[in-house]
Each structure stands twice: as structure tokens, then as C-alpha cells.
Symmetry: C2
Subunit: 196 residues, 2 copies
Amino acid sequence: MSAIMEETMEGAAAGQVVNGVNVSQLLETVTAVRGTPEIAKFRFRARNRWLGGGRNRTTIGDFDGALQTHRRAQPFVIEEDEPALLLGDDTGANPVEYVLAALAGCLTTSLVYHAAAQGIQIEEVESEYEGDLDLRGFLGMKDGVRNGYESLRVTFRVKADAPEEKIRELVELAQRRSPVFDIITNPVPIEVRLKE
Amino acid sequence: MSAIMEETMEGAAAGQVVNGVNVSQLLETVTAVRGTPEIAKFRFRARNRWLGGGRNRTTIGDFDGALQTHRRAQPFVIEEDEPALLLGDDTGANPVEYVLAALAGCLTTSLVYHAAAQGIQIEEVESEYEGDLDLRGFLGMKDGVRNGYESLRVTFRVKADAPEEKIRELVELAQRRSPVFDIITNPVPIEVRLKE
């Protein structure tokens, strides 16, 4: 049985838009996926070009989902750099800062969509992120010091038409359902190859 | 003993800028960190605000490193959304696409910086990223289906003043040193709290 389906049937009426999320479309998606699980298979893509020093430009164009390829009219362009202390020109956030942004967007959207499915109106969601990283990992200077974040801390502030206990449940649910939270807290295999 | 120090001493001369990276500054950093390991401790930060539906705005302002707080004059603003198929307005890349961007920037910069330390001139680096994600995880529809990427694939094209074997070594080294590669392939603990 679908968890979100149960939530939705208990809560919001079909046709309703809650938190800017079309709940009847969400219901239709769940029903469609139950009939044809292949609809749920997504493939996201990116291309990257090095621009010199610590600068990179990533473009995000199409993705596959619901058995089709979806092309944006214009690709999204993401500029990355390193601050001067890390020998860059500081023309954009750096890659580990983009990890924080990805986590922020994903936890928040997960919270808001699942609240919508339950018919809970959210007024405001703000959050803060902090990650500790020891550069000796990247520099290869000390065994046992990892390259990436040692730990991350997140603080949420949520204003909603719901008691505090319900808001706590939503913050928990966001962690249990967020794709990026999963990607960061659990291992994802990455295969890297060199094209000649 | 410092791996990057050994590489650097074998390769590039001090004062040299290779691949847009100031190698003598890199050497100074390594020397400073060897004397005072606390210099290598970084803390990155982000703030996020929900804008309705699947839209989020993350701002990246200051970070701590080398025993100081570094403030950007203007914070970097990162806009996230979901495509129509995922019930958004498609005004920005979505959070799992930002994960690909973060990985792209980090692997590339890791490759280029370590090449610079070895005095290897890089001409071009391009790469492509692909990630498979089953929406049934996010929807809570099926046990055993994870929320995040099941797997990621990366393809690099590198033009450099080096034999192919050396380029292969650099692509391997990028994976061994990249913070975001570590964050994605290994678990990072995340602590989430609700502020009243």
C-alpha cells in the first residue's frame, strides 16, 4: 500500500492545491505508478566544462521520467568556483556549498509535498545548514581524515497551520523521504570512466 | 608525509601558476597546515527559504577556514524548483540535479588542482553525469526502493600535456581526493533539529 496515498486519502480533497502543490495531480501520479511502476524511473543528467582554476560551468538540460525524455527550452547553467583561500576567484559557490543547497531544497520540498498530501497548509519554511570539512583529506595529508563533510547540521523553522507535534512529524518525514538526504547519509555507487 | 607535498616537490616549481592554480600558494597552504592543523578545519554554511510549491532559494554567504570567517560581499543565490512532471514550475534545476553539479565541479577541480601540483598542464576537461532514481522511494510506495540515486555514472574527456596513462591516474586521483565524491559514496551523518 502507498504511504503517500494513505496520507492523501485521509487528508486533502482531490483537485485541491495545497502549498502550491497540485494534490490531485500527486494522486494521479501515485495511481499511475501503481499500475505501471516504470513511470517512476527517472534519469537525471548534467554536463560540465572546466573554465580554468577552480571554475566550472555545469549545464542541466533534459531528464527522463514517466517513460519520456523532457527537454528544457533553455538549460539551467550552474557556475562554481572556489574562494580565494582555496585558490579560486570566488565567482560562484563551491561544490561542497552546492551540496548544502541541494540538501536544503530537497528536505524542504519533501516536507512541503508530504504536508500537502496530508492537507496541511505550510506558511513558511526556513532552514540553516552547517558542514564541517577538514582540508587535510583533500590534500592527502593525513590518513583517517575524510575528504568530505565529517558531519552536517540542519536547523528548521516551520510556520504551519498545525500543532508543534505535527510539525515535528513532518520534519521527521522529510528526512525519511528526501532523495538528497538519502544520497548524503547513505552510500551511492559512482562509476567513473575516461572517454578517449 | 604529505602526498600533495611530495607531488608538488617532484613536479612544479614554486611561484608557478599551473591550470590557473597558484602552485606556490598551494605549497604554502600545505606547509602552514603541517605546522597548524587547525588551519585546515573548514565550516561551510547555507540558508534556505521556501518560495512555494517546489521552489526554494538558498543563499551562500560566509564560511570559516584558516581560523577566520570569510564573508562574501554579496551572497551567492541558488534557485531550485521541480519540473512540471514533478509538480513544479521548472524555474530552476531540482535538488538531485544540483547533486550532479556539485559532483561535477568537485571531481573536475580535484583533478585540475592535483594535476597543477604535479606540474601537468590541463587544456580541457569535460564530463557528463547520469543518475538513476526511482520515485517510488520518495512517494513511500515500495520498501527496498531507496529515495536517492541508485547509481551514478560519470564520463570524463581530458585534454592535457600528458600521456593517456597519466590522465587515467589523474582521473583516479580525483576520485580518491574529491570531497563531494566522498560525500556521495560514503555516509555523512546529518543532525536535523526544529527551532521553535
